[in-house]
Amino acid sequence: MTVAFALTGIHKQYPQFTLSDISLSLPHGQIMGLVGVNGAGKTTLLRILTGLVRADRGDVRVLGLRMPEDQVAVKADTGFASEDMRLYKSQTLRWHMDLIAAIYPGWDENYARDLLRRFDLKSDQSIGGFSHGQRVKALLLLCFARRPRLLLLDEPTTGLDPVARSEVLEVLSDVLRDETRSVLFSSHNTHDVEQLADSISFLHQGRLIASQDKERFLDDWRRIVCFGDYTPEWPEIAAARRNGSVLELKVRDFCGELPARLAAHGLTVQSVDPMRLEDIFVTTVRAGAPA
């Protein structure tokens, strides 16, 4: 299986923050959601992938090429949009579209026009007059319409109003239908990730604490509510919360025999429910241990 990118042993030190020992890869044609709180290192990770930041140690390969040595070839096939990337205020979106179209041979003008319509953007308006949401959509338009093989999107939906967010997610899921494209997008909004991603990586305090298929994630975790006085401290219990005789357990690596084991310790299992990604994420971060 070819990979869209592969990071091995990446290390990047800042005065206040260290990204340490990241090894991560994305199979070709897959969508990976990178989840983490603000400051977890998502943006740094994406910048290393695009060559905007050079890692102190480790090996970066994107689309089979070495970064940053082969960054020209890599960037020719990659679309990168980040929250702190700004277009030129004094120029119109059309001007930016012409610039990108002149640089990327793969620019698809018809698709760009279609996106203009779907994002409800005016191409002859200067960027300075755009709202935050319009700026994000403009940036995404410039990325999507060049039809890159790899899309790296840093917080594409952050700060968008619900309408803009659904427009972006809709277009993104259209892009993702094309199986030749790979996407890595970061977010602290787990709902978006849950909706779009094939696989999910949790980043916390500069460390990768989980990286798995979305389905396996969801399969592995359960929320169990039971009654009784016993509080189990087993490895698979990521969190336990007691309220009187009611005990709420959040379980990783759930397997079918667990309710019986709980019952054997005098607990009455009332319910076993799958967990939302957000809940899994928060639990993982709080537990501080690998998911």
Partner: protein, 226 residues
């Protein structure tokens, strides 16, 4: 190392000029105004005209640096530019060429105009060497400002360097007036390149070039471009 991405470098230069177009147009208008003032051939208009021309030269070069480098970082456009298929060296060359041409056009117009004025009018031809040294200083000051703008992100430092390097022209001229082999021949008709003049001129040009090359070397070793 990959070969240069020339088409994109050209695009980036054209882009920077386009972003700078309105200001550049204003400077061109001022430049034409100052040439017209010179053309009136009155002492006062000659004085104001030549002063304006130098202001245009300094303003054009400083604002070109500021628009194309400092603002681009400040406005977070740099990440956008660096996400295009270019290597740091391509970016450096685009900025270097774009800025040097923007600087060179008014610089050469004034340089050639000055030399023509000295050689074709009753002004003593001995002024040629002295003028070349002054222009050498302007070139050096510009290269310092350009290099600092590439290498240093602080806006305050950049403004300081731009102003300081240009203001240094005064002590420089004072220094020249202390060198007899340069100052003593100003009023003569002979154009004498004394060894002191040659050393200073060569230093100015060589240091300017070294600065630009060194900045490119530093730039290619930067670890962050956003």
């Amino acid at each position: 190392m990959n070969s240069l991405n020339v088409p994109v470098i050209k695009r980036l230069i054209a882009k920077d000029w386009l972003l700078f177009q309105k200001q550049m147009a204003a400077y061109v208008l001022t430049g034409i105004l100052s040439l017209c003032l010179l053309g009136m051939a009155r002492p006062w208009s000659f004085y104001i005209g030549s002063l304006l021309l130098i202001i245009v030269l300094v303003a054009t070069s400083c604002f070109a640096i500021s628009t194309s480098l400092i603002n681009e970082r400040k406005e977070h456009n740099l990440a956008f530019v660096m996400s295009l298929p270019i290597a740091p060296l391509d970016y450096y060359l685009a900025k270097l060429i774009g800025n040097l041409v923007t600087f060179a056009v008014p610089f050469l117009v004034i340089l050639i105009g000055t030399l023509a004025a000295i050689l074709l009018t009753p002004l003593p031809d001995g002024l040629v060497v002295y003028s070349l040294l002054i222009f050498g200083h302007i070139l050096l000051a510009y290269c310092v400002a350009l290099s600092v703008a590439m290498a240093v992100e602080s806006e305050g430092w950049n403004i300081f360097v731009m102003i300081a390097s240009m203001v240094m022209i005064n002590p420089f001229m004072m220094g020249l007036s202390q060198i007899e082999s340069i100052h003593g021949v100003i009023r003569g008709e002979a154009i004498i390149f004394s060894s002191a003049a040659i050393v200073i001129l060569t230093t100015q040009v060589v240091v300017s070039l070294l600065l630009l090359v060194g900045t490119g070397w530093v730039h290619c070793r930067k670890v962050a471009f956003y």
